[in-house]
């Protein structure tokens, strides 16, 4: 069972309190009607499924109930960091630093 840091509660808590919520940083388009079928398809269905550092969303569903973002290595399952929804994704340099 993973331990996950909720950036809102600022506490590291067992995975049981959290729910996975898919890939992060996929913004709903401002004007969906203006999108082509292909663009909309990509928004709906195309995901990274990355081997390595993965940007993803979690929800502290049995806690503060907030959605937040996380960077997790999908090979080792280690969380590099978690951060509040709406804040920009960490840069490659920052992630490299966290990876150490």
């Amino acid at each position: 069972m993973l331990l996950i840091h909720c950036p809102y509660c600022d506490e590291t808590l067992p995975e049981l309190e959290f729910a996975y919520a898919g890939e992060a940083h996929i913004d709903r388009p401002e004007d969906p009607s203006a999108m082509t079928d292909e663009e909309w398809r990509d928004f709906l269905f195309i995901r990274n499924n990355k081997r390595g550092t993965h940007f993803e969303r979690w929800r502290h569903i049995n806690g503060c109930a907030r959605f937040f973002n996380a960077v997790r290595d999908t090979v080792s399952d280690k969380f590099l960091t978690t951060y509040k929804a709406g804040t920009p994704r960490p840069s490659d340099a920052e992630l490299e630093e966290l990876g150490k």
């Binding site: 993973l2 009607s33 079928d37 907030r66 959605f67 080792s76 399952d77």
Partner: protein
Amino acid sequence: MTAFRIPGKGRVNHDTAVRFRFDGKSYGGVEGDTVASALLANGVHLMGRSFKYHRPRGPVTAGSEEPNALIGTSRGKGRFEPNTRATVQEIYDGLKAESQNKWPSLNFDIGAVNDRLYMLFSAGFYYKTFMWPKSFWDRVYEPVIRAAAGLGVSPSEPDPDSYASRYLHCDVLIVGAGPAGLAAALTAGRSGSDVVIVDEHTEMGGTLLSEDQVQIAGQSAWDWLSATLDELKGMNNVRLMTRTTAIGYYHQNMVALSQKLTDHLAAVPGNAPRERMWRVRANQVVLAQGAIERPLVFDGNDRPGVMFAGAAQTYLNRYGVKVGERAVIVTSHDSAWYCAFDLADAGVAVAAIADTRDEIAPEFAQMAADKGIEVLKGHTVSSTTGRLRVKSVLVNPVRNGKVGASRTIDCDALLMCGGWTPSLHLFSHTKGSLNWDSEAEVFLPGDKTEACHIAGAGRGLWGIARALEDGANAGSEAAIAAGYATEVGLYPVEADRTGGGVTHKELPSDRDAGKAKAFIDFQNDVTAKDIRLAVREGMRSIEHVKRYTTNGMATDQGKLSNMNGLTIAADAVGKEAPKVGLTTFRPPYTPTSFGTFAGYHKDAHFELTRKTPIDGWAEENEAAFEPVSLWRRAWYFPLSGEDMHRAVARECKATRQSLGMFDASTLGKIEVSGPDAVEFMNRMYTNPWTKLAAGRCRYGLLLGEDGYIRDDGVIGRLSQDKFHVTTTTGGAARVLNMMEDYLQTEWPDLKVWLTSTTEQWATIALNGPNARKLIEPFVEGQDLSEEAFPHMSVSECKVAGIPARLFRISFTGELGFEINVPARYGRELWEKLYEAGQQYDVCPYGTETMHVLRAEKGYIIVGQDTDGTVTPDDAGIGWAVGKKKPDFVGMRSLKRPDLVAEGRKQLVGLLTDDPKTLLEEGAQIVADPKQPIPMKMIGHVTSSYWSEALGRTIALAVVEGGRSRMGESLHIPMPDRVLSAKVTETVFYDPEGERLKA
């Protein structure tokens, strides 16, 4: 005293006799015995038959890695356990154990004919022998294989025992309480850190239990052990747990422990849990699991009486049991020499030591000579004899790679050692890398992924002195990492037994390799020949070899077989072992009962049962219940002698004729409030909300962003900035999650608050022509007339003096009201209405009647009539989609090419040709029943009921192009006949909706 027990020797309690039964026969043992040690003390080696060939087998080991001596134990009804290792199960008075895989008896087994048909059962036999003809698989091959092969017999009764589970947090968790683990515990314990040390055995000590000759810090091993355990037990910060196996090592230093609590007791205290699962979160973990002896691979290495030299030493020194009267040692490692010396000292005739090596330490040769043991250097074993017990061994000299003539030596115990394999199972669970030590020919721990330390034989350090030193250091490192200051103790050791050895593939032989039965995996009956055959047939990776031969796939997970399998596969492939790879170890380390994993989560505790405030009334009135998501709901209310069909028909009739009342409290409810509530609703739901006046309701439809229906429900606008949203019973949490997701992450600027109010409100639905008459006298603050309170109205008023949210809505097509009152008033209001309703013959009804009544009106149930691929238009409710809205969740998807394509499945009604025939929900629909199989299926039945109002059956279905097929006959093939039905509109009853206005 039994024949093979040495009085006074070992750690067992010779003064306390224990009687138990094995295969119906009574045996005597002593307190401290395992089933294996007690049977061996009686001269019994034959303890089971093997999996595939039903070959006679005895114990090879004295521990949890045992592949052969598997037994069934029984404590009465529901308390039978198969595949228990006789080397682990402690005896107690009255224990009943039985051997496995034998018929009719262990001594004479019919299935042993498999042994002579071994050609059929060679590597890949599942894939080859039984492939043709295909129809034979189900009827002939599989039943025969299942009857002949397999391990033990599954228990057939529910397990009546209880199982516990707990969490534990500590600074340092130490796995294994041999010399390394104990030294680690001393260092870490003395530092003040919180220490947990666990061991799978009955008592702690590990190797020390079998090596009482060692002197540690001036004390005998056993005196040092007891002093050490006393010191550890005296520390408040140290917890010692025996009979406790670390079964899995998970992320962030979480280790699962399976603790056996009662399996060793003659009288189990009432309500005592049988086993306990511990989930330990440790700051640091020390793995001190030692090493496992490795078999030598030669023809007949599986006969009862052939066992590990180290096991024989344990039986002798720990249990005071001689494993035979005349032993031969065959080894490639120094450690077995000590076994020979100990046995000789205990009075066992040691006929010879055959060592595969040409060079032997001179002091060994001298000791052997002193004890009168013949030494055969540079020898191999080419075969053994004996049916139910080894009778002799054939040894041959090997000179310059040539195997000389064999010589037969009689023996009743053949004790082998092919080296030692560091036990790295738990380390492998963490995905720690393994490094190949080409000199010792073993894998050693490499890069770590967790905060763990490996000590002693687990990282290839042999001997007790090195184990103690390494353990003390590992304990220190761990405690320091956890933030404590340490002092590392020194443990001077005398009479230690160090040494080394070499490893082998199959031992060289002068016999026909094609006929050799040289076992690698004893439990799955895999031989060296099988591995080579697998490689010849194209398997190159060890993972493929494993699956093709089943090597390492038995309950012992290859603890004995992996390294020999790898060595032989590597030789056959012509590569170095690490290039061929090592198979992955997975939890659990040893077989663990399902009960331990389930813990408290069984029966009523498996998952919670949600009950409404009115549930008690339903129970008192003998409702039949059904589970709906986690809720238990009143299904129907049978009068005496009524079956479900008759009860539901009566409830339907009463509701349509006069008045029915229904507990709708499980409906999901979400309060959406705030200045931007209407904007939020506009964006979430398909419907337009801006113009909906306060006090009015609307059917709300929720899509996923992909355009498919996710949920629906009536939504009331209480004021400009407040909505009372209802959802499906099962969808409440999902809908709230979805709303929160959009609100928090897409539209955080909206000033909206979402509150789950499902359990705050009790909801009573009244339906039928007399519904208004019943509640009118109870309502204060709201005129209920058609003009003042028309269909789809909502009001905050009082009902029976209770603050209420009153809806005029209907899920039955009748005049209907839904009264929401605070949950604590639910039952009170229900009882008042029920009492007052007697004048209208009010009929309480359950979910089944609710389903029938709604189906008669063609109202869909999301999740029953829809399945996650249904659009509003497919469901015939396109009218609920706001046409002029700029955007809402899922709107863009409704224009995707596939969603506007012709021929999509659409919801329609179906009326069977025979009005009494009830279609099966889920039944597939075809257009032409005469087409060849497989037929083209064009849809399926989603809802199907007997309609009392119509005096016939009705059904809803999704059918390709359904709405263009009105009046068409479709066909529903069933196993015994093909049914026919006509396509109709979805509204079967009162299509004009006149009754709503009653």
